[in-house]
C-alpha cells in the first residue's frame, strides 16, 4: 500500500511534494497500522478513500497551479464573478442564433431554387455561393464579437494600449 501511495504522491506538483510528501507518507503509515484487526470492508474503505483523496488532491493542486483558481476554497462555493458569463455573451449568442437561422433560410431558398421537386442535384454548382454565405456569416459574427469587445473596452488593441501605458508608467517609476 505504501509503495502505491508513494507512487500516487508523484502525481502532485513538485513544490507540494517537497512540502508535504514525507509527512503524508508518515500519517498514512500510522493510519494503516490502525487497520489491524478490522474487517475487510473497513480496510477496503480506507484504501479507496486514500486513493480517491490522492487523485482528487493531485488534480486540484495542478488545476489551482495552472488556472490560478481555487476549485475547493476554504469557504463554501458561491457564484464567483469569474464563473459568471459576461453580459456581452447574451448579445453574441443572439447574433450567432440569428446567423444560424439565416443560414437555414438560405439553405431552404437554395433547395427551392435548385431542387423544387425535392430532387437533390449535384452540389458543386451551389458550392461557391454556399461558401460565400458561410464566409460572410463568419465575418459578420467575428465583426459582431469584435464590436462587443471594442464597446466593452476589451479588444486586443485596447488591451495592448493599456499594457503599454502600464509598462511606460512602470519604467518611469
Amino acid at each position: 500500500m505504501l509503495r502505491m501511495y508513494r507512487g500516487l504522491l508523484q502525481l502532485y506538483p513538485a513544490a507540494y511534494r517537497r512540502e508535504f510528501m514525507e509527512e503524508m507518507l508518515r500519517v498514512c503509515e500510522q493510519a494503516q497500522k490502525d487497520l489491524v484487526g478490522l474487517p475487510f470492508t473497513a480496510r477496503a474503505a480506507f484504501y479507496v478513500r486514500e486513493i480517491a483523496g490522492l487523485l482528487a488532491g493531485a488534480a486540484h493542486e495542478h488545476l489551482t497551479t495552472i488556472l490560478e483558481v481555487d476549485f475547493c476554497p476554504v469557504r463554501s462555493r458561491d457564484m464567483k464573478p469569474q464563473y459568471r458569463f459576461p453580459r456581452s455573451t447574451v448579445g453574441l449568442m443572439l447574433v450567432i442564433l440569428a446567423g444560424v437561422l439565416l443560414a437555414i433560410e438560405q439553405a431552404k431558398g437554395i433547395q427551392v431554387k435548385y431542387a423544387p421537386g425535392g430532387h437533390v442535384s449535384a452540389v458543386w454548382s451551389t458550392l461557391p455561393q454556399f461558401a460565400t454565405w458561410v464566409l460572410a456569416l463568419v465575418c459578420l459574427a467575428g465583426f459582431a464579437g469584435w464590436a462587443i469587445l471594442f464597446a466593452l473596452g476589451r479588444s486586443g488593441v485596447q488591451r495592448l494600449s493599456n499594457l503599454s501605458t502600464e509598462v511606460v508608467a512602470e519604467i518611469k517609476r
Binding site: 509527512e23 503524508m24 498514512c28 493510519a31 480517491a52 490522492l54 475547493c72 476554504v74 469557504r75 463554501s76
Partner: protein, 107 residues
C-alpha cells in the same frame, strides 16, 4: 467580511486545532472523534485543507524541535481563530432563527 459558510473538512480541522496544536495524524483522529465517526478524512483531503489554510495564514506550523518534516505540528493563528469564531456565531444565529421559525410554526 463575507459570511460564507466554511466547508465541513475545514471547519472540523479548525475545531481540532482550536484547543491545542496537533500534527497530521492527530488531526485525522480528532476529526473522526468530534464528528462521532461521521467524517473520516483521507490524508489527501487533510493535507489539501492544511495547504489552503497555511496559504491563507489561518494556521501555522508549530514547534519543529528536531526540524524533521514528519514531526510538524500545526496551530491556529489569531486570524484562523477569529474566522472560526465568526463561523460559530453564524451557525448559532442560523440555529436560533431555525428554532424560532419552528416554534412559530408549532404554536
Amino acid at each position: 467580511m463575507k459570511a460564507l459558510p466554511l466547508s465541513e473538512p475545514v471547519l472540523l480541522v479548525l475545531l481540532s486545532l482550536s484547543d491545542r496544536p496537533r500534527h497530521g495524524y492527530s488531526i485525522l483522529k480528532d476529526v473522526e472523534q468530534i464528528s462521532r465517526g461521521r467524517v473520516v478524512l483521507s490524508t489527501g483531503t487533510l493535507y489539501g485543507a492544511l495547504h489552503r489554510l497555511l496559504a491563507q495564514a489561518w494556521i501555522e506550523r508549530y514547534g519543529q524541535g528536531d526540524g524533521s518534516r514528519d514531526s510538524r505540528a500545526y496551530r491556529l493563528t489569531s486570524r484562523g481563530r477569529q474566522n472560526l469564531q465568526w463561523e460559530i456565531a453564524r451557525m448559532k444565529d442560523l440555529a436560533r432563527l431555525a428554532s424560532l421559525r419552528l416554534a412559530h410554526k408549532e404554536a
